[in-house]
Symmetry: C2
Subunit: 327 residues, 2 copies
């Protein structure tokens, strides 16, 4: 198959659940080989000797139609017999690994131990599951999100899963990010013109910041001529799911679209916000459109994908600021 011209290519940055919803929408409304997803690996960790990449797996399972729609992670129809046996043999059972999900972790662990890259493994797994979009880790180097809390520094999964985001957060850092490198595969995509760059409505601090912390990646995004649009994860002054709002409060950041715009300042050319946050629009010194960003159904995901792509295309045609339409 001849690849589509790069100017048709859309690049989307995403983390786990929230991001994967829009990623699926984009995947469904675009010709399938015109989407490249750059996925956060700051949440990756080694658990019981297995290399677990939660956000990559969420994206892959979501695009393959295998994701559990309720739980927000892992596979639909999953079974837990491994965990049952584990509890008889070990104490350390705080991280749930489903029986089907384990296949991914075991294969990935073997792949990496044999010297293969996470990028190559992910491409292979996505291909096996029939995914035509490129799913690229933000880097093949180890970047680990460390959350400084009132209980000390915690690896991300300990904070997120083991302690259920309970310890108040003081700051976040991305261990290894400074020296992490852009992958050849991602460089290849970024070296050519793109149609649009979308920042999915993932947690900006936990899911998108690690991606932007890869120095060459951030630089390449800033240098791209394509419009960069973020979809705000805030709806009506609340985060849809996950610890975003709680964490923003703990970090002293107002839970507003203005804060999101400020967070991405210098990177984004436009912000897509939820209609319920329309009052915030005046405070954002950027092109903004407002629409219903809550993605409950598959149709919602496709609609938001259409909206953000349309917004990007409009920005590309009218690259002066001040453009604003209401969804």
């Amino acid at each position: 198959m001849i690849a589509a011209p790069r100017s048709e290519q859309v690049l989307a940055l995403c983390g786990g659940v929230g991001g994967a919803k829009l990623a699926l929408g984009l995947y469904r409304v675009l010709d399938r080989d015109r989407l490249t997803l750059v996925v956060n690996t700051g949440d990756d960790f080694e658990h019981m000797g297995l290399n677990v990449s939660p956000d990559i797996d969420t994206v892959v399972y979501t695009l393959a139609g295998l994701a559990d729609p309720e739980r927000g992670w892992g596979r639909a129809g999953e079974s837990w017999h491994f965990m049952g046996a584990l509890r008889d043999l070990a104490e350390d059972t705080w991280f749930n690994l489903g029986d089907c999900d384990l296949a991914m972790h075991v294969l990935r662990t073997e792949w990496l131990r044999c010297g293969g890259s996470l990028t190559a493994f992910t491409a292979r797994a996505a291909g096996k599951l029939g995914i035509a979009a490129r799913v690229l880790p933000m880097t093949d180097d180890s970047v680990r999100t460390i959350v400084a809390t009132e209980e000390g520094e915690l690896p991300f999964q300990h904070y997120f899963v083991r302690l259920r985001c309970e310890p108040p957060v003081r700051s976040i850092r991305f261990q290894g990010a400074e020296t992490s490198r852009l992958t050849p595969e991602l460089l290849d995509v970024l070296a050519r013109p793109l149609r649009a760059i979308v920042i999915c409505p993932s947690n900006p601090f936990l899911s998108v910041d690690p991606i932007l912390a890869v120095p060459e990646l951030r630089a390449a995004l800033v240098n791209q001529s394509a419009p960069v649009v973020a979809v705000s994860p805030i709806i009506g002054g609340q985060a849809v799911k996950g610890p975003t709002a709680k964490m923003m409060s703990e970090l002293g950041i107002a839970v507003t679209t203005h804060s999101i715009a400020a967070h991405y300042e210098g990177l984004i050319d436009g912000l897509l916000i939820d209609s319920t946050d329309i009052a915030d629009r005046a405070s954002v010194d950027l092109p903004v459109i407002a629409t219903n960003t809550l993605m409950r159904s598959l149709a919602d995901r496709e609609r938001v994908a259409h909206d953000v792509l349309g917004f990007c295309d409009t920005l590309a045609q009218s690259p002066v600021s001040g453009l604003a339409g209401a969804g």
Copy 2:
């Protein structure tokens, strides 16, 4: 708990299914802390990056009451969702790993990668599952059974599982055995007098020979004053299960109790044979008793255990050869 005096200790050498049946019988008729099982690790292999120890697991699951009684390996009530997911992601799915069984492999792999010994892991797992007997790998060093066949040399599991023992066998060797060392834990048991040493009715060539190929282990067994009795795996000129008879034929060895006695010559002080092979007795220049050695029920296992222990005790009291009773 104070350990039983070592003179009450029984040591049994065993491989997988056949051996584990008698191991369970011994475990049930002996005070539980008076049994030490030395288990073949020549079948161990790395599969998808996981350290799999089939014989150790068969013994542990059998003693813990978790073994599948029909299949002959793995756990009862096992599920196979991992394998189902694996088939969507990988080609190499010839070795079945059950969802519950995987817990053992994942934990063992992590343990070994962190520098722990197979002996320590096995003791820990057996303890967690409530097993009071010592289950000891024959060595902590890598010994790998290699089967030379008409299709070339094959790692054991490739021969046994992947090719279902189909290629005719020319010879068998145990890679790494020459330099393998006795473990401190096994040395500790062997350094003191034992009540009896039992060679379970496992495949002599595939399951017991690797154990005897550990040089210090064989020497320690020969030096022990305790009687050494083998239970013949032959019943009515056939092997009960597995490739024993087929392999003996291919190696040019008659499928008789005489062959078993000859195989263990210089090591054993007596042979327990099946009543159906009573005609072979005259050809064996060793004390022999004949009994029903087919172990279908739990009562069968306990009865054969009683028989072999009684035989050992008789030999210990009358250490001259020529003793023979009929079971």
